[in-house]
């Protein structure tokens, strides 16, 4: 092969059928409420840590569903539980985050 000095860059598109959902499946087992998220963003807008840390429960759930690592975001959570109080679907988001921390802890 002749090296022309440039190559193909990998597509940034997420292949939904190839996503690794193992973390998400573990979380589903511990906190089944995660399935009912409808991405309204109430949790994110009420989050005390959000404005300075980028923490967003909505993004945590979505990124898990797309097979991404969310451990960095979890560090900012103070477990205040305000997101649980505002969730219209009644998801125990505080338990969701704790469960997720536990799953990441086991991985270490």
């Amino acid at each position: 092969m002749i090296d022309f000095g440039f190559g193909l860059s990998r597509s940034s598109a997420v292949r939904l059928d190839e996503v690794d959902l193992s973390l998400y499946r573990k979380l589903e087992a511990l906190e089944p409420g995660v399935r009912t998220c409808m991405a309204c963003g109430s949790c994110t807008s009420t989050c005390t840590a959000g404005p300075w840390s980028g923490m967003s429960v909505r993004k945590v759930i979505l990124n898990l569903q797309r097979g991404k690592n969310v451990s960095d975001m979890l560090q900012a959570c103070m477990l205040c539980g305000k997101c649980t109080m505002v969730c219209p679907r009644g998801i125990n988001t505080r338990h969701l985050i704790l469960s997720l921390c536990r799953i990441y802890d086991e991985k270490k």
Binding site: A13, R15, D17, P32, R35, M38, A39, K59, R66, R89
Partner: protein, 339 residues
């Protein structure tokens, strides 16, 4: 027995229900239906949300109410002329009728999904519509549906909310139909991953939101906010689709064994010619124009001409049935001089 004839154009649920009520009120309704069966689009459906009622049971139940009603199948209205106190009607089979009132219940046409060429309906092997899927539920015969699909995707708003396709309105029932069909597919294929691609989920009706939560919680159906932009076929005959996950702001692709397009509702293509015969007017959305859209939906701007069902706009089955009953009462009041 009152011998006053009422012409009912269309033998779907609206026409059938109105005919039943008018017959009970002592009139002589005459149903003119262009296809070879009563029940319209509903007759092609398997189960109806939100109670998962069997569509064929509903149609047979409604047919029982039509004993004594004249029904002309495979017949169209050739001409209608207004007389001093009624209408002179000629049908395509040569029959002539004198009617005191006309009820237009001509319903809707399903959007022709092959017009959205980017989705490959009629081109790729595993792309079907919502109506095709219902037909498959009923008959089990459709070579496009694989025997054991591991991935199934639904595309909402095909030919709805689409200015370029000439149909800017929401078809109302497709969001709920997609969720219903996603659940039905999960029941048939529990191992399959089912994906719904939506712009908004418009779940306005009784128990619709329950279906959404059930689809998420009990069936694990995936919902992605984003409109599918294009579809292609790979070398194995599988369908590859592209969309933006607008909640994440990333492009996504999905390889799927079956793609179901939620084709929307368009006004029946014959509506404008029917409207012209009785000088009723057509609205800016292509559907028939009611006197108003709040209090007089069943009334046209012309005396003696009434509407029921999806000829005036997209409707669910219960809305259509309710409108048919209301139209029957409106006609009764009109003919009794109660107006």
């Amino acid at each position: 027995m009152d011998s006053r004839n009422i012409l009912i154009i269309g033998g779907g649920v609206a026409g059938m229900e109105a005919a039943k009520q008018l017959y009970r009120l002592g009139y002589r309704p005459v149903i003119v239906e262009q296809s070879d069966h009563l029940g319209g689009h509903v007759a092609g459906w398997f189960k109806l949300f939100p109670d998962m009622l069997s569509a064929s049971d509903l149609i047979s139940q409604m047919e029982e109410g039509l004993d004594g009603v004249d029904v002309y199948l495979k017949t169209r209205v050739a001409s209608m002329n207004r007389l001093k106190d009624g209408f002179s009607v000629v049908l395509s089979n040569g029959t002539g009728l004198l009617c005191q009132a006309v009820l237009i219940a001509s319903g809707f046409n399903l959007f022709d999904a092959s017009r959205k060429e980017e989705y490959g309906y009629g081109v790729y092997d595993h792309v079907i519509t919502n109506a095709d899927l219902e037909q498959w539920f009923r008959t089990g015969a459709d070579p496009r549906v694989p025997e054991e699909p591991s991935t199934i995707a639904f595309v909402h708003c095909v030919g709805s909310r689409d200015l370029k396709a000439g149909n800017p309105q929401c078809s109302k029932v497709c969001c709920m139909t997609a969720i219903k069909q996603a659940i039905e597919m999960k029941e048939k294929f529990p191992q399959a991953e089912v994906w719904c691609f939506y712009m908004d989920l418009r779940l306005f009706g009784k128990k619709y939101e329950d279906f959404y939560i059930n689809a998420q919680r009990d069936y694990g159906v995936h919902f992605v906010r984003g409109r599918v932009s294009e579809v292609s076929e790979d070398i194995d005959g599988k369908v590859m689709l592209k969309a933006e996950d607008t909640l994440a702001g990333t492009q996504v692709k999905l390889k799927t064994d079956l793609l179901v397009l939620m084709a929307g509702m368009l006004c029946n293509e014959d509506t404008s010619s029917l409207a012209a015969m009785v000088r009723a007017s057509v609205d800016s959305d292509g559907f028939l124009r009611s006197r108003d859209n709040i209090y007089r939906i069943n009334e046209s701007s012309r005396p003696g001409v009434f509407f029921a069902g999806a000829c005036t706009g997209t409707k669910t089955v219960p809305e259509t049935v309710a409108e048919a009953r209301a139209a029957a009462l409106d006609i009764h009041n009109y003919l009794s001089g109660n107006d």
